[in-house]
Symmetry: D2
Subunit: 131 residues, 4 copies
Amino acid sequence: MRVRYAETDQAGMAHHSAFLPWFEVGRVELLRALGKPYQEFEAEGLHFPVREAFCRYWVPARFDDELLITTTIEEVGGASTRFGYRIMRRADAMLIAEGYTLHACVDNQGKVKRLPPEVRQVLRQEERAFS
Amino acid sequence: MRVRYAETDQAGMAHHSAFLPWFEVGRVELLRALGKPYQEFEAEGLHFPVREAFCRYWVPARFDDELLITTTIEEVGGASTRFGYRIMRRADAMLIAEGYTLHACVDNQGKVKRLPPEVRQVLRQEERAFS
Amino acid sequence: MRVRYAETDQAGMAHHSAFLPWFEVGRVELLRALGKPYQEFEAEGLHFPVREAFCRYWVPARFDDELLITTTIEEVGGASTRFGYRIMRRADAMLIAEGYTLHACVDNQGKVKRLPPEVRQVLRQEERAFS
Amino acid sequence: MRVRYAETDQAGMAHHSAFLPWFEVGRVELLRALGKPYQEFEAEGLHFPVREAFCRYWVPARFDDELLITTTIEEVGGASTRFGYRIMRRADAMLIAEGYTLHACVDNQGKVKRLPPEVRQVLRQEERAFS
């Protein structure tokens, strides 16, 4: 993934708000890799609204920098999941930023739902893989 | 409306893609002023997807510039509407940019619909007001 | 400030990444209210890159919701400042989200600088006003 | 390139303003392919601000759709260049949108400059390749 010109600001670096969509790209790709793309959850009436988002910025990302996003599942609770992210610059493996997002699990009406067992299993599998 | 820092790019001006959301703000405010907010259309199952968008950029908009948006209805067809926009810098009335968006009228299933007569009347009223 | 259509996502609410630019609007307006607009800092070669950003989302913000942002200075360190934010829905004073951003103080070359005394004084004044 | 969740809107499709950054990605990749990345122009004090942007939207792009962008140089004038874009859905080669951007050539002070001969040659080469 490369930093887009539209994502830079007048300080000459990627604007700090650009990182949350990048985290999201990492999350989407992780779910796809786990065999359960995000669209399947939505088709089954499950949504994962963000409850908390945090990012620590270590080094500025510049226009056209190639970035690598590593996404992990940090915690799977009854009705919530926490994803962790690390963004590195590909050229020199420098850590650019890291953070997490905490997600609730809700149905189409926005009511909080327990994570279905098969979902929890898919996510826990990944959790184990990184612990 | 002021140019947000997040809307600037590393060339030190508002990124050209920021203008389409500004046009949209103008469109939303015009419909509200006509007594028919956008949400009412959506509640009635009418949507106005953008078919064409055009913008001519005259002068850069800078961070924190106060901008004025003038929105007009340029044309009301059977199943389409064209809105025109002019964005001025408030400090000196300098024309920053101008453009238009052409919209279809579709229902919840995405099928093209004729503009309902009462909608056409509301929009035509505005069209007259500016001709 | 109203939620823009462009800021919504397909879940029908404001996307969580939209909140960081809103926080920024609050920060910019606070500095203006303190008599020291952000541009003056940049003109003097001082920049305040974001080191950490955090947001807790309580209730979804919907298209066209009118939002109020309250910004406070939570901490003024030697070379860093922490701003706190609360976003409320104007219609019913419901708390939508809250968060903070932690900023370094750097010069044009990106080197960390101590906050100049007169800046610290301006910021501390505000800090007192809210404690 | 895949449509990001953050790029969708509450109508369930990619917001029309997302297409201009996509065009920009196509432009940046084309210049890189021509052996003259955008950064080199900026390092030499040449900038290409957008003077006009146009997009015609044929079919909605949905979350996670894989898109292909074809960028061509449509015209190389004395002090301006026009890039053309076609965005296709990878799955079925459906044309999603097409458009163009017209760019001036300016120096670091924002003064209009003639395109340097070696730049014009690089761009014209591509222009020929597609005519």
